[in-house]
Symmetry: C2
Subunit: 332 residues, 2 copies
Amino acid sequence: MKKLMNAPADFVDEMLDGLTAAYPASFVRDGESRRVIRRAEGARQGKVGVVSGGGSGHLPLFTGYVGKGLLDSCSIGNVFEGPTVDSCIEAIKLADGGKGVLRLYGNYGGDRMNFDMAGEFLEDEIKTTTVLGTDDIASAGPNEMGKRRGVAGIIYAYKAAGAKAEDGASLEAVTEIAQRTVDATRTIGVALNPCLVPGAAQPSFTIGEDEIEMGMGIHGEPGIWRDKLKPADEVADEMVKRLLDDAPKGRGSRVSVLVNSLGATPLEELLIVYRRVASQLSAAGTQIVLPLVGHYATSMEMAGLSISLCFLDEEIEALLRKPAESPFWRVA
Amino acid sequence: MKKLMNAPADFVDEMLDGLTAAYPASFVRDGESRRVIRRAEGARQGKVGVVSGGGSGHLPLFTGYVGKGLLDSCSIGNVFEGPTVDSCIEAIKLADGGKGVLRLYGNYGGDRMNFDMAGEFLEDEIKTTTVLGTDDIASAGPNEMGKRRGVAGIIYAYKAAGAKAEDGASLEAVTEIAQRTVDATRTIGVALNPCLVPGAAQPSFTIGEDEIEMGMGIHGEPGIWRDKLKPADEVADEMVKRLLDDAPKGRGSRVSVLVNSLGATPLEELLIVYRRVASQLSAAGTQIVLPLVGHYATSMEMAGLSISLCFLDEEIEALLRKPAESPFWRVA
């Protein structure tokens, strides 16, 4: 594992400097902590704010989804570490347009603790609500949905909540659509090779030269099984079956599909898998709209991919179709 | 090296099936060879056609740049192999709108031979011209520009020629702007780890666990030097210096910069490098417009990146700024 970087301690700050240098019209670095990215145009008065945050190392997640019709701001931790309380406070303040702020982030202990403390700190000043991304079906069973981790599928909730907020909805309505979108989204991943946290002595996990692990988390959390590498179609079939078996009750027949590279896995392989996913979903009587294929939520150079299904209702689909201004939200 | 794929012999066809399934509004597979991707809406009568092609394994190059204001069609070879003569003939025919067709592709022997034969085969039927991508400054010296290979920088010529053709220009004018854009573009790459051609017994090259190679080609062609891995800033400084030392005479002060992942190198590292490139160019009195940072021309899971500079004149900049319809042409 090799990285093109300078001092490991500068990895995140130099990355953020690069992000704001490359996309000055989209992203501004702000806050005393310098660990907040907000929209270049600032919070809009009279609009509900939508804030996310999390550890670094997952670009374009989370920061890349700051933009009109998406997030207002994002607090940024070190690689694979939650953001500080201070940066969460700053992100919430910078997203505040006087109508309250939704905190929408992945279900990880450190992130939860710091966002909760930030909300408490601000409670006399800004009304906040919380929705947690819990889309990873491999991380806990269907009877323990609240224990599931948040992974790539959270971008659907960003998009739906961001569009709803842009439409002028109340904090309650934005919170409701975010929760409804999380509840309608399922993700599972497979890992083929690990990544390396900058400065760490060892990769995030070890795996045999001919092995694959189903259900591994984006920081290397243990999955469901590890076995010899299998043909892509066999892997895709199992992933789709697990996702459909776990689908919300009363779901409709329309879904958006996200086939997401964890990092090193190239577009060629994503497309080979997408082809099979599309054919399996079609055979199951499910219609794909708004497919997403590419790098949406990564673990740096980890090899593998995740598949997310967002089961659409009329409102979620309409919100996903609305325009959004981020270089990283891209629908085919 | 592990791949999520099925039979190696099906890699390219399954990838193309995935591409057209994911982006049906953009890409259609066509030709008896089934190895042509053309615009969904077909060739426009009265417009000059712009055709490219090459080996697979470089997505989104070449196929992903088919779209309005870019390429009309693309012939597709096996991984790292040139497209067949038949697929080149079909691609040219499918791009023909009665005003002639520009063949615009990278300077590699196999691609050249087959595109030349296709042009000869069609010479009584369709007027064609040729422009070769020759942006890789590490592949031959400044006195042998014609021997240089084409790499990521060719996308600037796609964009300029495609926009000019869309404006209704003649074949001569489209050819001239393509050549002028190639002449204004310089690229250099660094490789950290190899990729694996599907079905091959060994990776495309071997490199030590702590080594980097400057100037390596996108198929693993030997570079300028190999050494211990260095800090990103040091690597970026050398790359920028080499690019500026090789800049066209009489260049202006405005450039577009492309920091392109060869595959496994994540966005975090691209941004760290971009930050340094931007600061070095600024120190050299050069103004960056239209920066591109991401996966634009890859070698599957190869680790490393390339930096391209396109030295702008007024017309090239105006053409780069025109809208283009491809899911993969993205300006910050």
